[in-house]
């Protein structure tokens, strides 16, 4: 096929069949490398929650193919990272076997827990592509993740743009620095070497496709068609300015996200001017993550089938004022970026509610979590359980109850939690009736209740959302019920660190989603 394709290239553009076949093959090769990476990763977030991405870019760092299962955080991030690498290590200085590495949030994915590597791929001495991998590390040193962190220095090891390998040999200084600064170096370095293996596998499998200008031509054509599809989808929206304002519980004060979407012809621009300033908390969202969680709902609403490449998102732009929570300045902490970033899809849904009434959801709530660590039956344990919430209703159906959105993080089975941690779960049940009222009701939240059963103290941290500002309804629909956190019958603040003791009884409740449309009228006299 490569020879045939090479010949074809000389004759001009690809037809819709050759393009489909070659492109499928590229994606399949990237997915094969991704499958190998997942198998060899130590991180449970990689294995269970697809918290990683493998991307093939062209020589200029433009996406050619991305692994299929990646979560939305990685939309557009790795190609941008490759371009940052190119700024630091210009193309003419790169050699076969070089591997570049960084976890800089502004150049990577928005927090230092994700480490990015990229390897230049050569054909007959010419740089033709980059293989790149990003994944969530088992650990990155520093303080355990907590929104009380004030600066990036507390969050752990920062890896600036460095060469991990020079022409095939590892840099011992880089390896030693990383190993010294993370808690489980065998696992952390193990994951980094697994990234390198995935890059090498891509290089080997791609050899037949690296000839001539095949990749360049292919990339050009994929981007052209992706861009055309997205522009056509945007053109179907009426021109105009659409705004929304969503709130997060915040800390001392609420956090505000102001969103203004301008649709003009086949372009869509999102401006977050008016959003809260950056905070000395680990909830700041760097521009790359702001973009990813803006691009995600735009794609899902308008054109879910386009690939995540520069073409698809060429007509979409995001901006936020420097120093705001969506464009913070160094050394802002960002470990809990998701708390704010997950508000962007509801902000965009709400803004576009009038022009896409049949597509958008009313607001719901992002996930919460409880993390416990300590000693149990003679062993250290660390257990994290995610709790999802009610999602907003739409014009045509009720909202989903207890479903993960916009991320995709599942719960841990009760039987597994109890086998790892000294706790007994009293219930995990749906909070019936907590979804907002409406022609279509919001989805219901979750109630998760447990008792600590060990004599030794259990260090516990909660991440909870929608405890003060309820998910609002749309088009006259009512808000969902607030979430709440109780310890022994008293409401407590989740942003504190808690040490639980035997007999402590914890109730975590997640919010209901907003309703859609005014509730159906009942007979007079009836409520």
């Amino acid at each position: 096929m490569s020879a045939a394709a090479g010949r074809k290239k000389a004759a001009g553009a690809f037809d819709p069949i050759e393009l489909e076949i070659l492109w499928k093959r590229l994606v399949s090769i990237v997915d094969e490398a991704a499958a190998t990476f997942v198998r060899t990763s130590f991180s449970t977030l990689v294995r269970d929650a697809n918290d990683f991405a493998v991307v093939l870019t062209d020589a200029q760092g433009r996406s050619l193919a991305q692994s299929t299962m990646s979560i939305p955080s990685f939309i557009g991030s790795l190609p941008a990272t490759v371009r940052h690498f190119l700024d630091r290590f210009p193309a003419h200085t790169l050699k076969p076997g070089d591997v570049m590495i960084t976890n800089d949030p502004w150049m990577g994915t928005g927090h230092i827990h994700d480490v990015n590597t990229a390897m230049p791929l050569f054909h007959e001495g010419r740089l033709v592509a980059f293989a790149a991998v990003v994944s969530h590390m088992p650990d990155i040193g520093g303080r355990l993740r907590n929104s009380g962190i004030r600066e990036i220095y507390e969050e752990g090891l920062q890896i600036p743009r460095l060469k991990l390998m020079h022409a095939g040999s590892a840099d011992p200084a880089v390896v030693a620095f990383i190993s010294q600064n993370i808690r489980v170096p065998e696992q952390g370095m193990g994951d980094i070497w697994a990234q390198v293996s995935a890059c090498r596998m891509l290089e080997e499998r791609l050899q037949p496709l690296l000839t001539g200008r095949l990749l360049d031509d292919l990339g050009h054509e994929i981007r052209r068609r992706s861009e055309a599809a997205m522009r056509a989808a945007i053109r179907r929206l009426p021109d105009g300015e659409y705004t929304s304002r969503v709130e997060h519980d915040g800390f001392e004060q609420r956090i505000v996200i102001a969103c203004r979407i301008t649709v003009k012809g086949d372009r869509l621009a999102i401006d977050y001017a008016g959003s809260s300033p950056q905070l000395p908390r680990a909830v700041n969202v760097v521009p790359i993550y702001t973009f990813a969680y803006s691009a995600y709902p735009v794609k899902a609403l308008l054109c879910p089938d386009v690939p995540n490449n520069e073409g698809s998102f060429a007509p979409v732009s995001t901006r936020a004022p420097a120093g705001s929570i969506l464009n913070p300045e160094y050394p802002a902490a960002s470990g809990g970026r998701g708390m704010i970033g997950h508000l962007l899809p509801p902000a965009i849904f709400t803004a576009l509610a009038d022009v896409l009434p049949d597509r958008v959801w009313a607001s719901g709530s992002a996930n919460s979590s409880v993390t416990m660590s300590g000693e149990h039956r003679g062993h250290r344990f660390a257990v994290i359980n995610f709790l999802n919430a009610g999602q907003g209703a739409t014009a045509s159906r009720d909202g989903y109850s207890v479903l993960s959105f916009p991320s995709n993080l599942g719960n841990t089975p009760i039987e597994v939690i109890e086998s790892l941690a000294p706790m007994q779960v009293v219930c995990r049940s749906i909070r019936r009736g907590t979804g907002g009222a409406g022609r279509h009701r919001g989805g219901d939240g979750l109630r998760f209740e447990f008792v600590v059963i060990a004599d030794v103290p259990v260090v516990t941290s909660f991440i909870m959302t929608r405890l003060k500002s309820a998910p609002p309804g749309l088009a006259g629909g009512g808000p969902g019920a607030l979430g709440r956190l109780e310890l022994n019958g008293c409401v407590i603040d989740p942003s504190d660190h808690w040490v639980l003791k035997k007999g402590d009884h914890v109730v975590m409740e997640t919010a209901g989603g907003g309703g859609y449309g005014a509730p159906v009228r009942r007979r007079t006299g009836q409520r």
């Binding site: 069949i17 393009l19 090769i29 130590f42 294995r47 089938d305 109890e418």
Partner: protein, 710 residues
């Protein structure tokens, strides 16, 4: 259809084994005479309202054929049966009205599931509906902890209350799934006893008997599904036993299960959910049997039918067995859109690529194929049954891969005009020629299958270049060579009787039982006396099942499995050791096996990490014999095998060429041919669209060694 024209009498002391497989359209049967391995095949339309009727028809037909060939039919030793009854009941939601008894506090578990979305970009995704609605779920007080210790008793009054509540629900079946029931089944058994005493006739499934594995949602889903199908399957098997008894009084009934073995009718009626994936399992066993007969160690079993293609890796003569599965998916090819089922099943992938897969133009103006399928009705356009959309079969016809006058032995004419018209509509919208579209559809569907297989092989830690592809299924041999070429697999085998391939698999299936027991503990801290006690119980229980299937005790090989990981990891790996008494000295053997497995999958061990066993498993399996099947003497000599020449498309050369066509079963063993060529048989066509060495093996299997990859 008689495939044996011998008129000699069957010698005394011979017996017959019969396999019957109920498929969506046809019920296939195959009889093998032992010793010797001569086979006869039978086929009739499936009878959906009373599936057993077609089974009777096929068995009677086979007995008639065998009798004709040998004067009288020998004794039928056993009938091995595969059925899609369980799958269809779940997909069509036609099971029993079922209730659930569960622990206080988790009555919503079936609605909550794992809280995940199976498609990130579908804003209106449809979630699978639980089999038991909330108002038929009853919570019962009483609690075990994670060590299996009772922390709250289950009072008599609580049992009585549950029974009363259940009686009011008017259900036919009930599932019982309690927290940590996999460790301590005392409460589940108490409830079962209470129900059986006071509500006799109610079908009761308890989680500790159906799937003794940790993870309450998945175990509950499995137990509920078992209860849901049990009354129907039990009635069906009971009637079937009667029908077979009338035709072949001495025959025992064996039922194929998803793990690639068979069990007794009684065990199948007790845990019918294990039948779920028996159809695909039989296809893999058929491929595996062919591979064994030819001394192959690493194969990719490849099966392609009307709607789906399936691929399965088997190394060392055994297919991989997975312990979780999904059924009744909302979107057939989307992982996570179905109901989780914890049963051992042959680990294979299903791809939305079949003869009926429909070609269409996507949002980006590119040609896509599948996963939507035209199925058998209306079917591909060339069937002339009302299908108007272009399918893979239509493209196969236009590329010369199918003979319009010899489809199903000529019983069904394929229309070139209709195929051309259907592809013409697509060609116009793509501004391409019909020819280009036909090549495109076949090229894309082959690429889709190769891609899925490539990733499946990578997930298992193998390199496809070391494999042989073994093709089964109606459309398998049509596309196998191109799929192999794309995967750089050098050799392809085409089994005999592709159309009745599942039946060969049923006959090749060994007896097999599986038991599981979750009890997460560090290997170093295992309570060996408890482990030994439970393992002995599992073995006694498994032995009883084998006895009920009439399997001689001496023919069984036992092995102990452990689902293991390092403490703190999210995923576990399956480890297996030969059966032995579980005591402290077993720890070393288990650890060695774990480390060997871990090293193979991941390259290196984790220094300082602690191995942990999540679930112990017990497998008893009859040694898988090498079954040789042969058609008998109806087919001899290659003199009249040639069927002229046909114009077919050769993708590797990018052009059409005239290639020779042969009648497959007229080719004698030992025949050597050179591709490109086409071999036709009644239910299938083997297309070799490249330079290759083609050999007819002694068992009529065709071996193709590809000589032209680029």
């Amino acid at each position: 259809m008689t495939l044996n024209a011998s008129t000699t009498r069957h010698p005394a002391g011979r017996s017959l084994r019969i396999a019957v497989d109920i498929g969506g359209t046809f019920t296939d049967g195959l009889a093998v005479l032992l010793p010797g391995g001569r086979i006869w095949v039978g086929k009739c339309l499936t009878t959906p309202d009373d599936p057993g009727e077609a089974v009777s028809t096929v068995i009677a037909d086979l007995l008639r054929q065998v009798a004709q060939a040998g004067g009288s039919a020998p004794r039928v030793g056993e009938v091995v049966h595969g059925t899609t009854l369980v799958t269809n009941t779940l997909i069509e939601r036609k099971g029993a009205r079922t209730a659930l008894l569960t622990t206080t506090g988790i009555g919503d578990a079936l609605d909550i599931g794992r809280e995940l979305r199976y498609d990130l970009y579908d804003l209106d995704l449809q979630l699978p509906e639980p089999l038991v609605p909330r108002d038929r779920r009853i919570e019962v007080a009483g609690r075990m902890d994670a060590l299996g210790t009772e922390v709250a008793p289950m009072a008599d009054a609580a049992v009585a209350r549950a029974v009363r509540a259940l009686a009011a629900l008017d259900v036919e079946a009930v599932a019982v799934c309690l927290l940590h029931g996999y460790l301590n089944d005392a409460h589940e058994r108490r409830l079962k006893a209470g129900l059986q005493t006071r509500l006799p006739g109610l079908a009761v499934s308890i989680s500790s008997a159906v799937a003794r594995e940790i993870g309450e949602y998945e175990r509950m889903s499995t137990t509920v599904a078992n209860a849901y199908v049990q009354p129907l399957v039990a009635r069906y098997l009971d009637q079937l036993q009667g029908r077979i008894g009338a035709l072949a009084p001495a025959a025992s009934l064996k039922i194929m299960v998803s793990s690639g073995g068979f069990t007794s009718g009684a065990a199948a009626a007790e845990t019918p959910i294990t039948l779920l994936e028996s159809g695909p399992a039989a296809g893999v066993l058929s491929a595996l049997n062919t591979a064994r007969a030819n001394g192959l160690d690493a194969i990719l079993a490849f099966d392609m039918g009307g709607t789906t293609a399936k691929a399965c890796v088997a190394v060392g003569g055994e297919p991989l067995v997975a312990h979780s599965f999904e059924c009744a998916r909302v979107h057939r090819f989307k992982r996570g859109s179905g109901l989780p089922i914890l049963i051992p099943s042959i680990d294979l992938i299903e791809i939305g690529a079949g003869g009926g897969s429909i070609a269409h133009v996507n949002a980006m103006g590119l040609l896509n194929v599948g996963p939507e399928s035209a199925g058998a009705v209306p079917g591909p356009a060339c069937y002339q049954r009302g299908g108007r959309e272009a399918t893979v079969t239509d493209a196969d016809l236009l590329l010369g891969y199918l003979n319009p006058d010899n489809f199903l032995g000529g019983e069904m004419k394929l229309s070139l005009a209709e195929a051309t018209a259907a592809l013409g509509r697509l060609a116009r919208s793509l501004r391409l020629t019909v020819d280009q579209v036909a090549r495109g559809i076949v090229g894309i569907v082959n690429e889709n299958m190769a891609s899925a297989a490539r990733i499946h092989i990578a997930e298992k830690g193998h390199d496809p270049r070391a494999f042989t592809l073994v093709a089964t299924g109606g459309a398998g041999p049509l596309h196998a060579l191109e799929v192999a070429r794309l995967l750089r697999i050098p050799r392809v085998l085409a089994t005999i009787a592709a159309g009745a391939g599942s039946c060969l698999g049923l006959l090749a299936a060994p007896a097999r039982v599986d038991r599981a027991w979750s009890n997460p503990a560090l290997l170093a801290e295992t309570d060996w006396s408890a482990a030994a006690r439970v393992m002995q119980q599992l073995r006694d229980d498994a032995q009883a099942e084998l006895d009920s299937a009439g399997v001689p005790a001496g023919s069984i090989v036992w092995s102990i499995g452990a689902q293991m990981r390092y403490l703190g990891q999210g995923h576990s790996v399956p480890v297996s050791i030969p059966y032995r008494r579980l005591d402290a000295s077993a720890a070393a053997a288990v650890q060695r096996a774990f480390e060997a497995c871990y090293r193979k999958l991941y390259g290196a061990l984790v220094p300082g990490a602690l191995p942990q066993v999540i679930t112990w498993r017990l497998t008893g399996r009859a040694t898988m014999k090498r079954h040789r099947f042969r058609w008998g003497d109806a087919r001899a000599g290659g003199a009249d095998a040639a069927r002229g020449r046909r114009r077919v498309f050769l993708p590797v050369r990018g052009r059409f060429a005239e290639v020779p066509v042969f009648e497959r079963y007229a080719l004698a063993p030992g025949t050597m041919l050179a591709g490109p060529l086409v071999l036709e048989e009644r239910e299938s066509t083997l297309v070799v669209p490249m330079a290759a060495e083609v050999a007819v093996l002694p068992d009529y299997t065709i071996s193709v060694t590809i000589r032209e990859f680029e």
